[in-house]
């Protein structure tokens, strides 16, 4: 009998939200190590809540979350999980260069005063190279375009060198060039053994991106390879009848802004 592959993420019976207003209800999720899983659902389907639960930002009402066999709190302390945030909630006037921001990903590897060492500088240089921002390392974070900033956040997570990476809507409001670069980076990560969970509602390029797709609408509607999950009937269940509008309309303005930038400028 062959041993089942180790689970990088194991969620069982997860309910979260407020009693009476459940964002997630009885969610079971199992991510195999070294795969890319796309988490697909409409706005308000509970994707962000699920991420919060995985990061331990939200205490579940019921159920358990295990990352590499550990509860989220412990997993974070052991640098099991890295995270690329969704919205530009950051302060654009914050006095911080791109290189300094990316260096923050090295905190789990550093001593108590976080003084950067040679290995830290090398990891930052490599990550910036990988996302195509080496030239812009001395810019401040506020001076980047939307797509560049998304790649800078990705670089910050890369330097963590954690075995599990969560990305919340990395393709929303991002130009074509940045999208391809992010996809290539995630494939390289997966090939090196990292487990990747990406939330998205861009359905068109999903088959190229992900090994597995999980369709979420407060509970898991379907899970499996893209070809099996991305059928009309399952998608209709997740997005309702306004499927065509819903995915696109939500971030059409962001897309328009994102496309104006030259990806490598």
């Amino acid at each position: 009998m062959t041993q089942a592959p180790a689970a990088a993420v194991e969620v069982s019976g997860l309910s979260a939200g407020y009693p009476g207003v459940l964002a997630l209800q009885g969610v079971d999720l199992r991510l195999t190590a070294g795969t890319i899983t796309a988490l697909v659902g409409a706005n308000g389907s509970g994707k962000s809540t699920l991420f919060s639960a995985l990061l331990g930002l939200r205490v579940p009402l019921a159920g358990t979350v295990r990352l590499h066999g550990k509860p989220p709190q412990q997993a974070r302390r052991r640098n099991v999980v890295s995270y690329v945030p969704q919205h530009d909630t950051i302060d654009h006037t914050f006095p911080l260069t791109v290189a300094q921001m990316v260096m923050m990903g090295r905190i789990p590897h550093q001593g108590p005063t976080r003084r950067p060492r040679r290995a830290d500088r090398a990891a930052v240089a490599e990550a910036l190279e990988q996302v195509g921002l080496a030239e812009l390392r001395r810019r401040t974070v506020g001076e980047l375009s939307g797509g560049q900033r998304r790649r800078a956040f990705l670089a910050r997570s890369l330097t963590q060198q954690a075995p599990l990476m969560l990305l919340d809507e990395p393709f929303a409001g991002v130009d074509r060039g940045s999208e391809e670069l992010i996809t290539a980076t995630l494939h390289a990560l997966r090939d090196a053994g990292t487990t990747v969970l990406v939330s998205t509602h861009h359905l068109d390029s999903l088959a190229d991106l992900a090994d597995e797709v999980v369709l979420l609408h407060r509970r898991v509607l379907a899970a499996g390879p893209p070809s099996a999950v991305l059928t009309e009937s399952t998608l209709a269940g997740a997005f309702g009848t306004v499927l065509a509008d819903d995915g696109g309309a939500a971030d059409s303005t962001e897309d328009a802004v994102g496309r104006q930038e030259a990806p490598w400028s």
Partner: protein, 288 residues
């Protein structure tokens, strides 16, 4: 040349001026450091609140014969806890909670003063009494100031991440609650450090204006720390001398010097100043 030496050296013949200068420099330097994080966290109002809330602590400390700093520190913490507690009820917003707590504690301090016989004047607590600094006061401020500055500088990278991106700080395993608490404790300590120089009313000026000046002039956080605390120390030194020669309120003069630096930065700062922004707007308009 001789005149300059005379201007700088003459006040230092007096021990009280030596003490005043030392205590003002240390307080301003620490305020300048902490100010950077307060401004970036959006905690300016919190600085004001803690400063006003320590009044009853000072009165009670004198009554009980314990160091003023201890009483002030305890009430600074009480204020922080009350603010946090009250604003955790969903009905009350944070700035409302701050407004309720610090005015209440300040009023309590006033009432206590009116009932408790005390040799310290209310005037000195409210507006500072830097010229009355004793050697004991000086040592207390030195010890507190150096300890606060050391902790701030050692934890600076974690605190900066906390101010920049709380969720990510959490993700990499930092305790955001503990870091916030640390910053609040340091805020209480800094307030105590600066009390002798500036008094309760004006402490907040040195907790906000230096950091704001740094924000206008710097692109990186390390530079901002230097500009902020360096500017604050300059304001303290020039303020002490000006107030000596022109016979002005020392705390007031220090703050006005700092405000002048802010005004200069607001107009002249390389990228974010008024002139630079106007020039950029004109170039953009010309290009269009």
């Amino acid at each position: 040349m001789e005149l300059i030496v005379e201007i700088l050296a003459a006040p230092l013949q007096f021990a009280f001026m030596q003490n005043a200068l030392a205590v003002a420099v240390v307080a301003a330097g620490v305020c300048g450091l902490l100010s950077c994080w307060l401004v970036l966290m959006g905690w300016s109002l919190m600085g004001e609140a803690v400063a006003h809330s320590i009044l009853p602590g000072i009165v009670l400390a004198q009554l009980l014969g314990v160091p003023m700093a201890a009483g002030a520190f305890v009430f600074g913490l009480i204020a922080v806890l009350l603010i946090g507690g009250i604003s955790s009820t969903p009905v009350i917003k944070r700035d409302t909670s701050i407004g309720v707590v610090f005015t209440t504690l300040f009023a309590l301090g006033l009432v206590l003063i009116s009932r408790v016989p005390s040799q310290t004047h209310l005037q000195h607590i409210l507006f500072g009494n830097v010229l009355g600094t004793s050697r004991t006061d000086l040592w207390q401020v030195l010890a507190l100031g150096l300890a606060t500055a050391a902790v701030l500088l050692l934890a600076r990278r974690d605190l900066t991440l906390l101010a920049f991106d709380r969720t990510y700080a959490h993700t990499v395993g930092l305790s955001t609650a503990a870091l916030s608490a640390l910053l609040l404790v340091l805020l209480a300590l800094t307030t105590v450090t600066a009390l002798q120089t500036l008094g309760i009313i004006l402490v907040v000026a040195m907790l906000v204006i230096p950091g704001a000046t740094g924000m206008l002039t710097c692109r990186t956080f390390g530079r901002m720390l230097m500009v902020s605390s360096g500017g604050a120390v300059f304001a303290a030194v020039s303020g002490v001398y000006l107030s000596y020669w022109l016979d002005l309120s020392t705390g007031g003069t220090i703050v006005l010097m700092q405000s002048t630096l802010f005004g200069l930065a607001y107009v002249l700062a390389p990228h974010k100043g008024l002139i630079a922004r106007a020039a950029r707007a004109r170039r953009t308009a010309a290009a269009a």
